[in-house]
């Protein structure tokens, strides 16, 4: 088990290296000069050239990449052009907001998707199954930026039920910061008013982000349960007199969620990517909106750092998924 984790972590390193190469090339191939942005609006060509030399932008790309890699290896992600602060500090400050959003979306997606999938499988080929299939196809197909705006129009503008944007009302004093996760912090500080406000702000972004995940999880759970229901051991369990609800909710489900769990690991990547769009629309102060701002200002160190972070988080989540897989099915654990 420990060996499995170590091996997987070692395998992640080349993946991250490849990720950095790709991003570096993509960011720097685009013909815009970070030196100009750094020098400011009224800079003379000479000033820009000085900055170019200072930051090494006049060096060949491969040399620049070498310098950057050495910095990263020393845990130095560089300084943001946009904010003038270390990129690492910016990201650490904004990461909790993104984690809160993605995990909320994930729990929403799995919490609703798994039961809906079971329901669709148990009611196989009934009107309910067809209705859920319509919903899942729609859930995957609907663009999140459109869905987000529709939700804002309905719940914020028309009904005035939920806030339009942000993480916390401007009038609300934020709770003492322990984890950066507002829901957790407000509970730790026993600030129920802040908790309720944070939940109200989280609701629309989380629903927007979870829609695709929920639809995918519903579909995977449905097909997993349908496949398991055909198994010989389910027939045996029926013959042995297991109550129907217990059979489906426990004995069938555990065998069916294996595919779903793997899918959730992969979905996490989609959620992080989706967060970029959703955060921008809802003005959510996470790394997604940070990345968008960085792209607009050619803040390439920030872009690289966000990419690297997303890669690391995605890899960790997928290692965890494999471990959970082993917990659910002991035959897999024996191979880890």
């Amino acid at each position: 088990m420990l060996r499995f984790v170590l091996r997987r972590v070692l395998l992640v390193l080349p993946v991250l290296f490849g990720l950095l190469v790709l991003t570096f090339v993509l960011v720097r191939v685009v013909p815009n000069d970070p030196s100009a942005a750094l020098a400011g609006q009224n800079a003379t060509p000479q000033q820009i050239a000085e900055i170019r030399a200072k930051y090494g932008f006049d060096q060949p790309l491969i040399v620049q990449f070498g310098i950057y890699l050495r910095q990263v290896a020393q845990a130095d992600l560089g300084t943001s052009i946009q904010s003038g602060r270390p990129v690492a500090r910016d990201i650490l400050q904004r990461l909790p907001a993104t984690l809160e959003l993605t995990f909320a979306a994930l729990f929403l997606g799995a919490g609703l998707g798994v039961p809906l999938g079971v329901l669709a499988a148990v009611r196989h080929n009934t009107w309910l199954d067809h209705a859920l299939r319509f919903f899942t196809v729609g859930g995957v197909a609907i663009a999140s930026f459109w869905f987000a705006i529709m939700l804002q129009l309905l719940f914020s503008m028309q009904l005035d039920l939920l806030p339009l944007r942000g993480r916390l009302g401007t009038a609300m004093a934020p709770p003492a910061q322990w984890t950066g996760l507002l829901l957790l912090d407000s509970l730790l500080a026993w600030r129920l008013d802040a908790f309720v406000d944070a939940v109200r702000h989280l609701a629309l972004p989380a629903v927007t982000l979870s829609l695709g995940a929920m639809a995918t999880i519903t579909r995977f759970t449905r097909s997993g349960v349908l496949e398991t229901l055909e198994k010989e051991y389910v027939l045996y369990e029926i013959a042995a007199g297991y109550p129907r609800w217990l059979l489906v909710a426990v004995y069938v489900l555990r065998n069916s969620v294996v595919a779903t769990i793997t899918q959730i690991g992969l979905l996490f990547g989609a959620l992080l990517a989706g967060a970029v769009v959703v955060e921008s629309i809802y003005d959510w102060p996470g790394i997604g909106s940070y990345a968008v701002a960085a792209i607009f200002t050619s803040d390439y160190k920030a872009i690289l750092a966000v990419t690297l972070l997303v890669g690391v988080v995605y890899s960790i989540v997928n290692i965890l998924v494999d471990l959970i897989h082993g917990l659910v099915d002991r035959r897999v654990a024996a191979e880890l």
């Binding site: 051991y233 042995a240 007199g241 109550p243 129907r244 217990l246 035959r331």
Partner: protein, 338 residues
């Protein structure tokens, strides 16, 4: 034999299942009687409906299957009149234990063996009379006794292991323990040795015979092997293409088979066959079964009236029943193939 001795009585059971190619008549007039305390073998070639019969008794037929006629009377009650909920609550696992065909596929791979077996007892085992509080403990103790009875080494440890950690023979022993867990009145075994290798088959058969003697079990034993019937069963019922063709005491049937199909089937058994005998032709398709006796296209003694109607069953004084026109009143007894 008076009806009071009968634990299970299947009468004129007809089951069909719609398929893309038409309606398949998978059981056509099946009769079966299981007296209390006896082991009754149901024997026939693959696809003759043996397993369907076993599943019909438990109500676990495929969803599309339809019961067109007949009764399955268990302890005076028609099981066909019960819905799935009633069957689960009162019959399956509790009154009727089930030993499945393939022990490699029948255990849920993601749950501990103990969890799966105790689950049956949790819903169906009679109270041990210990006042409720120690129910789980009582179930566990009984299960451990049963695991010892089916000769599982180190039963305590076995409960905490997963199915893939057991061999096929051991898994079948676990499933036998599961079938007996709630002291059922009837045990249905669906070819329980077919998936096992020969030496293990023998051990499982011996175990079943010992358990049957020890606990006075009544059993419906599905098999395609007359050798197994000879070793284990008190009575036997022979099926062909969804029809029951002959039934009676095992010794009687083995010594004096009457139906031409039984005679040929016995002649096919490697122990008895002089050379590699076989039955010409193939088993009738349930989609388009031949009219009358379904065996008549392959029968060496077939007569024109065989194709007219299903032959009525004739029972002699010894309880030997046969459904063949050769034994109808006035017919000339068939010569046995030598």
């Amino acid at each position: 034999m008076s009806a009071g001795d009968l634990l299970l009585r299947v009468e004129g059971l007809r089951i069909s299942i719609p398929t893309d190619d038409g309606v398949a008549q998978i059981l056509d007039h099946v009769d079966l009687r299981i007296p209390r305390g006896r082991i009754v073998g149901v024997v026939g070639e693959s696809g003759c409906g043996k397993s369907t019969l076993a599943r019909a008794v438990l109500g676990i037929l495929p969803r599309a299957a339809r019961v067109d006629a007949g009764r399955i009377v268990f302890e005076g009650e028609d099981l066909l009149a019960l819905d799935q909920r009633e069957l689960t609550r009162r019959i399956r696992g509790k009154e009727i234990g089930f030993i499945p065909q393939d022990p490699f596929l029948a255990l849920n791979p993601t749950f501990k063996v103990g969890t799966q077996l105790l689950e049956i007892m949790r819903w169906h085992a009679p109270d041990g009379g210990d006042g409720g509080g120690g129910r789980r403990g009582a179930h566990r103790a009984r299960l451990l006794d049963l695991l010892r009875a089916v000769q599982i080494a180190d039963p305590e440890a076995a409960l905490d292991r997963y199915p893939h950690q057991f061999s096929g023979g051991q898994r079948q022993r676990l499933l036998i323990a599961g079938a007996l867990a709630c002291r059922p009145r009837l045990v249905i075994a669906d070819e329980p040795t077919t998936a096992l290798d020969v030496t293990t088959q023998l051990q499982i058969l011996r175990l079943l015979r010992d358990l049957a003697n020890r606990f006075g079990l009544s059993m419906l034993f599905v098999t395609h092997d007359f050798g197994v019937v000879a070793q284990l069963c008190d009575d036997v019922m022979v099926m062909y293409a969804g029809q029951s063709v002959e039934g009676g005491g095992t010794a009687e049937i083995l010594e004096r088979p009457r139906h031409p199909y039984t005679q040929l089937l016995l002649a096919c058994h490697p122990d008895r066959a002089q050379d590699l005998a076989g039955i010409p032709g193939t088993v009738a398709s349930p989609l388009a079964p031949p009219p009358g006796c379904r065996f008549h296209p392959r029968c060496p003694s077939a007569r024109p009236d065989c194709a007219v109607a299903r032959p009525a069953t004739v029972v002699d004084a010894g309880g030997h029943a046969v459904g063949c026109v050769l034994y109808h009143a006035g017919a000339v007894p068939a010569a046995r193939p030598s």
